[in-house]
Symmetry: C2
Subunit: 180 residues, 2 copies
């Protein structure tokens, strides 16, 4: 990828991130984004179809890092094998999310939050079913799984949006206690 493209892409991402902390996604105009990012109008549209597209791209971008590139580098995470510890797994994800705190905060805010959480839940669908399956409850599995995923996503949101100073270990233990 061309250096210039990387630069503009990054500039737009950062500008967008900053603006999201200041105001709602729906009230942000393309004009404001390109002013903050200091790029031309046509350049924006060369990279993204619409503002929605920008948001979606940013979501996949972040989660791609958190769930694949970062996590995959560490060897100790084979979800499928028997002795695997769910709480440890959660803690690891929290560490990687913590590293992206700055980028994440804006995305959690009001309008964009809905889209962002949708993506987040999508990625959690890959990790959580194997754990939720072990909980034997009277409620339908479908319900328990959905709730477990939502609860984790909300836990992270509460942590990041509220600037809570808990460590990943603490937060993971609170979460585990809550869903147990």
């Amino acid at each position: 990828m061309d250096r210039r493209q990387q630069k503009t892409r990054q500039a737009i991402f950062e500008a967008f991130s900053i603006l999201l902390e200041r105001k709602n996604f729906s009230n942000i105009t393309v004009q404001e984004i390109i002013d903050e990012a200091n790029v031309g109008r046509s350049t924006f549209y060369a990279h993204f179809e619409t503002k929605d597209d920008l948001l979606k791209t940013m979501c996949t971008d972040i989660f791609q890092h958190v769930f694949y590139e970062d996590l995959k580098q560490e060897s100790s995470h084979d979800f499928s094998h028997a002795g695997h510890d769910f709480e440890k797994e959660i803690t690891h994800i929290l560490y990687h999310l913590q590293d992206n705190r700055k980028k994440l905060k804006g995305l959690f805010s009001c309008d964009s939050g809905e889209i962002f959480m949708k993506y987040f839940r999508g990625y959690l669908q890959e990790t959580f079913p194997s754990y939720a399956g072990k909980l034997h409850q009277k409620a339908p599995f479908e319900y328990v799984l959905n709730m477990t995923i939502c609860s984790f996503a909300e836990t992270v949101r509460w942590w990041i949006s509220g600037d809570k100073d808990y460590t990943p270990e603490q937060l993971a233990s609170y979460f585990m206690e809550y869903i147990s």
Copy 2:
């Protein structure tokens, strides 16, 4: 209130509700709303400042009914007295929400969902703290309360959005099992 005002207000609410099931809040134009509602442009703006205002008004409108007018008519709900049963309380709320299923479904959908859930959680803040206070967990009260409220809101969303045919009693028991 003038009959004409009631009629247009209702027509706009219904049109909006129908459109929300078809497409995202942010992609709905005022033009589409007034076409569907069959009212003039100036009439729309006589009732609501903006599309956002319409959404907010509709949210408060619904919850006002569900949490005050409907619930207050029944005598058996004194949250403060000692023998009060949380699960019964939940069940009651679910009954009233069920009556508004049609109106609610659109509001839960993507873009509007974030605003709607915010209002929903706001109303739950009045009911839930007294219950969440009784759960003694290691996690901060603030966290447990937030999670309990979110979990209930998500439970309702899952129920309504997914057209699940569980009775309020069933759903309440699933929820109670989940948070216990």
